[in-house]
């Protein structure tokens, strides 16, 4: 009996608490930057495509909803020829972002992707690629990788010695 009254009392008191319910969509939800929502492909500081087509996100994806094909430009820089995410399968686990060695793929605080037609949830590269560095500004994979792909020459990257003179035998 006492517990019954106590419960009713508590419920009554809630009427004077701050409201959790918001008037969506007029009022927007406040999301944290690391909230895992819609996936985007970001760009380098020099606005080149960040994704190098390494397939790691696709391999990490537990529902296998990422597929892509890597290709190269004339400098040997790799980028995805196509990049497709089937959001009707995506579970927004963020594994792809975690696997990505270049910070290219990022989950952003946006969940407003509802569609009437499931086919519209298939996003291609045009739909994914944004003109921003996203959450990780300043990082350029090609500056730290050894490969020379038009971003820097051999030995010009961060923490690299100039190329070895292979005709030299000097210790």
């Amino acid at each position: 009996m006492i517990s019954l009254l106590r419960t009713m009392g508590l419920t009554f008191l809630h009427m004077f608490r701050k409201r959790e319910t918001i008037q969506y969509p007029e009022e927007k939800v406040v999301l944290h930057p690391r909230w895992r929502g819609r996936i985007v492909l970001t760009r380098d500081p020099d606005m080149g495509e960040r994704c190098v087509g390494c397939y790691l996100c696709a391999a990490a994806c537990p529902v296998d909803c990422i597929s892509l094909q890597a290709t190269e430009d004339e400098n040997g820089r790799r980028y995805p020829e196509f990049f497709r995410i089937n959001f009707s399968r995506c579970i927004f686990c963020g594994y792809c972002e975690e696997a990505c060695p270049t910070y290219a793929i990022q989950l952003i605080p946006d969940f407003e992707m509802g569609e009437y037609n499931r086919q519209n949830l298939v996003y291609e590269k045009e739909d994914l690629l944004i003109n921003s560095e996203g959450k990780y500004p300043g990082y350029n994979y090609y500056k730290v990788a050894g490969l020379a792909a038009g971003v820097k020459g051999k030995g010009e990257g961060e923490n690299e010695e100039p190329p070895v003179d292979i005709r030299s035998l000097i210790p």
Partner: protein, 902 residues
């Protein structure tokens, strides 16, 4: 091989006793026993040099020793009562620190490195526990080189294991890859940018444990190993039938790697086989059935039915089509109407080869046995260009011969560094008789350059020196006799002599002479080995069907309909003759996958599956039947295996309608009943109903990605994976994950071993046969079945004839094979047409390199630039064999050369 008595030793690894074979090294023994011990520089086919220091273990003096010392397991032979520890903390730390040192200069490249996902360095890094980098200082860098259309170079990734140069120079005899600079700056590359010349350069991609050397054709449509759908396959580009793994992604064939078969290709394949696959992806492939001059209002079935039921029908088989396809065609048209799709002369050559190899008199060696020969005679063949992997095997024979004496020096067979020191430049004896220079000449103890007939005469003379029963060639030149005597003397002393010959020169007497030598060498103690190379991947299979040749069909056939199976007749004879032949038929049904001159004549053209899209059986040069499996489903349902089409025709003829067709199931059983000479082919691979624990064997690795997205652009609901009704392999990543039977291994993978190095888990012992025995079944008889003894009809000596030139076909590894030249990488290595003439003829005709000569052969005329040869004897001229840009010729041929007035 000197019969080594296998002595078993007991060794103690981390205090547990194990049985091990003496004569092996500790590293391979540990791997055989299932331990995961990291290594880099040791390679099962190349032995140990102890360069990378990665395979350290702790070795104790005896049971009571607790201190022990660190040793490199690859440099330690197995002894009885050996006490070692892999788990010892000191050894572990050593391995982990060694790895860390190797990684200090290794770039952060994995994401853009084609090796990633099948990288031995990645695997070993994880295995040693070095998962996080501590090194924060500058890394060494190198400039890369352009190495041609096959191999990509990214030198930053090198860990100085020396495997590349050891393979390229020591194993494959390459001259243009080396190590430069010094200390921690060593560089592996060419003297300057340029195409890697060696025919086996593609193996660098597999031998190099890192991403320094990678497959450039894969790079153009890059796919990680884990994303490929793979199946066990057989190379289609020469008669050796090397085992390969073919991988597909998004409906395109992406990569060929070697598939281990201890009796055939071992660990390696040639560049034609590795890079010749892109014909499968050719955009000009035949995609849909085509009906010309038919009733276009009718369906394909109605048209076919009208044609198939109208009058007499003949079938032309093909040496590049499977056994199943040729047999299905034979069933369709009837035994008496089935013809081999090759000229009479070639059919006769192959028949001779089959009679000699199949007679039980001489031993037909497997490819791996050829590596064990102590004296080799190559009679009228250029293996480097006609059967490349054989040339690599012969190199090993020559290289290994001096090692016979090494056992006296007490050096184990795996100790590569010491053996090289011991044998220095010593070589086994190899003799080459061929009209022009060949690549193997550099190893030869003697070369003999002559016209094909004279090569045959030399062979007959050698046989005559070896045996009194052999026929005697008359009127021999003294110096030729002298050569014959010398070669005979060396052969006579050999324990494991090997005669290599083949069909390249289109000379039947050469083949007979080779047989005579082998027969003359045969004694009770010694079985002489005789190895022939043949023109195409299923030449033997087709030959074993004993059908009449194309010429017979051309001479006396009167029929309304001709069915041509995967065969471009215009490559097999002069255009005029083929034109005339095809004009006789009202209906020409052609089945093929690529357009060529013959498909241009078809009234009904049907698209068929390539080796990657279908399943079938081929018989290689040693009579080994081998099965290849479908790698991926063809683009549309009209592209199907030839045998499926032909069997359906057969059913149509019996009055079945398209919806009543029976699935084909027992074609091979039927084949064996009709032609018992093929007994055994039905057992080369497990049947389609085979399951392990009720499971199929998956074609896709378990990490295969993109299943719910690959086809989402077409329709968001995933289609059901295709079902394979013909084999126990599945088109998914689910299924049996253990080690499947050897003929069904779609790829190599084992926990912790993502690269191809995981292969040792599939072998009974490192370097030995695969679990359950290597795939393939020999169909040749090894017991005596024929009475035929020495062959005679020795040809007359060749005499240059004024005004008439005898042409010899010059095979090219890149160019002479019909299908591989459709690969852009191979096309770029294909020579331009030329005519090769010797010094005397060049002087007589007053021409120099590059001048145009008018070449007339029968009705065919071509203007070809001159290529000089120091070796080619007078009266002969060489013409590249079967280049796609040259008209078809009927070999052997004679003709004239005239200088074109500028």
């Amino acid at each position: 091989m000197p019969l080594a008595v296998i002595i078993m030793a007991i060794i103690y690894i981390d205090k547990k006793p194990f049985e091990a074979k003496a004569g092996k090294n500790l590293l391979e023994t540990c791997l055989t026993l299932g331990f995961n011990l990291p290594y880099f520089c040791w390679h099962p086919a190349m032995g140990s040099v102890g360069a990378c220091r990665q395979c350290a273990v702790r070795l104790y003096k005896d049971e009571n020793d607790t201190t022990g010392r660190l040793v490199m397991s690859c440099m330690e032979g197995i002894r009885d009562n050996m006490y070692v520890s892999l788990d010892d903390p000191v050894a572990r730390d050593f391995r982990s620190q060694n790895m860390e040192w190797l990684m200090t200069n290794h770039p952060h490249d994995c994401a853009v490195c084609d090796e990633g996902g099948s990288c031995h360095l990645q695997d070993m890094t994880v295995m040693t526990g070095h998962s996080y980098r501590r090194f924060r200082y500058p890394k060494r860098t190198y400039k890369n080189q352009y190495l041609g259309p096959f191999i990509n170079h990214e030198m930053n990734r090198c860990i100085q294991c020396y495997r590349c140069v050891r393979f390229y120079k020591d194993y494959a005899g390459g001259k243009d890859l080396d190590v430069f600079a010094a200390h921690d700056h060593v560089y592996f590359g060419r003297e300057k940018d340029g195409i890697l010349e060696n025919e086996f350069s593609g193996n660098l991609a597999e031998v190099c444990p890192t991403g320094v050397f990678t497959d450039k054709t894969l790079k153009q449509h890059y796919t990680r190993k884990w994303d490929m759908t793979m199946a066990p396959s057989i190379c289609q580009h020469c008669s050796l039938g090397c085992n390969i793994i073919a991988g597909e992604r998004y409906g395109e064939l992406r990569q060929i790697t070697s598939r281990y078969n201890s009796e055939v290709n071992g660990y390696f394949i040639c560049d034609r086989g590795r890079f010749g696959y892109e014909f499968v992806n050719d955009v000009t492939r035949i995609q849909q059935p085509l009906i010309r001059n038919g009733n276009t209002g009718q369906s394909l079935f109605e048209n076919l039915k009208t044609v198939l039921s109208a009058g007499k029908m003949i079938g032309i088989g093909s040496p590049r089509a499977t056994l199943e396809a040729n047999f299905a065609l034979r069933q369709l048209v009837g035994k008496q109407n089935f013809y081999q799709g090759i000229p009479e002369h070639e059919a006769c050559l192959i028949q001779t080869v089959l009679e000699t190899s199949n007679g039980g008199h001489v031993h037909t060696p497997s490819l791996s046995e050829t590596e064990q020969a102590d004296v080799v005679l190559i009679l009228g063949e250029d293996p480097t260009n006609s059967a490349p992997r054989l040339a690599l095997a012969l190199r090993q024979a020559v290289r290994k011969k001096p090692l016979d004496n090494a056992s006296q020096a007490n050096i184990p067979a795996w100790h590569d560094a010491a053996l090289r020191e011991l044998i220095q430049d010593e070589k086994g004896e190899l003799f080459v008789a061929y009209p022009i220079e060949t690549k193997l000449d550099e190893l030869a103890a003697g070369t003999f350059r002559a016209a094909p007939d004279d090569i045959a005469r030399l062979g007959f003379a050698i046989a005559d020196c070896l045996s009194d029963a052999a026929p005697i060639p008359l009127r021999m030149d003294d110096h030729v006799l002298e050569t014959a005597r010398n070669i005979a003397a060396v052969l006579q002393k050999a324990e494991r002599p090997l005669i290599v010959s083949g069909t390249s020169l289109h000379n039947v007497d050469v083949i007979k002479a080779a047989f005579n030598i082998a027969l003359a060498l045969q004694t009770d103690q010694r079985k002489a080995a005789l190895c022939f190379t043949l023109p195409e991947c299923n030449s033997v299979g087709l030959g074993m069907m004993h059908a009449p040749s194309l010429d017979t069909a051309m001479e006396d056939v009167d029929a309304d309909t001709i069915v041509i199976l995967e065969n471009d007749l215009y490559r097999r004879g002069a255009k005029q003759a083929i034109d005339g032949f095809l004009a006789k038929f009202k209906n020409i049904i052609v089945l093929d996958h690529l357009h060529h001159a013959t498909t241009g004549k078809a009234t009904i053209l049907l698209p068929v599956a390539t080796f990657a899209e279908g399943e079938g059986t081929l018989v290689n040069n040693e009579g080994r039947a081998q099965r290849f499996f479908q790698v991926f489903m063809p683009k549309n349902e009209n592209i199907r295996e030839s045998w499926r089409w032909l069997d359906e025709f057969h059913q149509f003829c019996q009055g079945k309608m398209p919806d009543e067709l029976n699935e084909l199931d027992h074609l091979l059983e039927e084949l064996v009943t009709v032609m018992p000479q093929f007994k055994g082919v039905e057992t080369v691979a497990p049947p389609s109903g085979f399951r392990i624990n009720g499971q199929r064997i998956p074609r896709e690795p378990h990490r295969f990605s993109g299943r719910t997205s690959m086809q989402a652009n077409v329709a968001v609901s995933e289609p059901k994976p295709p079902e394979d009704t013909d084999s126990p392999l599945s088109y998914t990543m689910e299924g049996y994950r253990g080690i499947p039977p050897a003929p069904l291994i779609p790829f190599y993978w084992s926990p912790g071993w993502n690269s191809g190095q995981s292969l040792h888990k599939y072998q009974i012992e490192v370097g030995g046969p695969l679990h359950g025995g290597d795939p393939g079944k020999r169909l040749f008889h090894e017991d005596l079945v024929s009475k035929a003894g020495f062959q005679d009809n020795i040809p007359c000596a060749f005499k240059p004839h004024n005004g008439e030139t005898v042409f010899v076909p010059v095979s090219h590894i890149f160019g002479s094979d019909e299908l591989s030249v459709y690969s852009p990488s191979v096309t770029s290595r294909t020579p331009k047409p030329y005519v090769m003439i010797g010094r005397q003829d060049a002087a007589r005709l007053q021409v120099t390199e590059g001048d145009l000569l008018n070449v007339r052969i029968g009705g065919v005329a071509m203007d070809l630039p001159v290529k000089g040869s120091d070796a080619l004897p007078e009266g002969l001229a060489g013409i590249p064999f079967n280049l796609p840009s040259m008209p078809g010729l009927s070999w052997p041929c004679k003709g004239t050369l005239t200088l074109l007035k500028p």
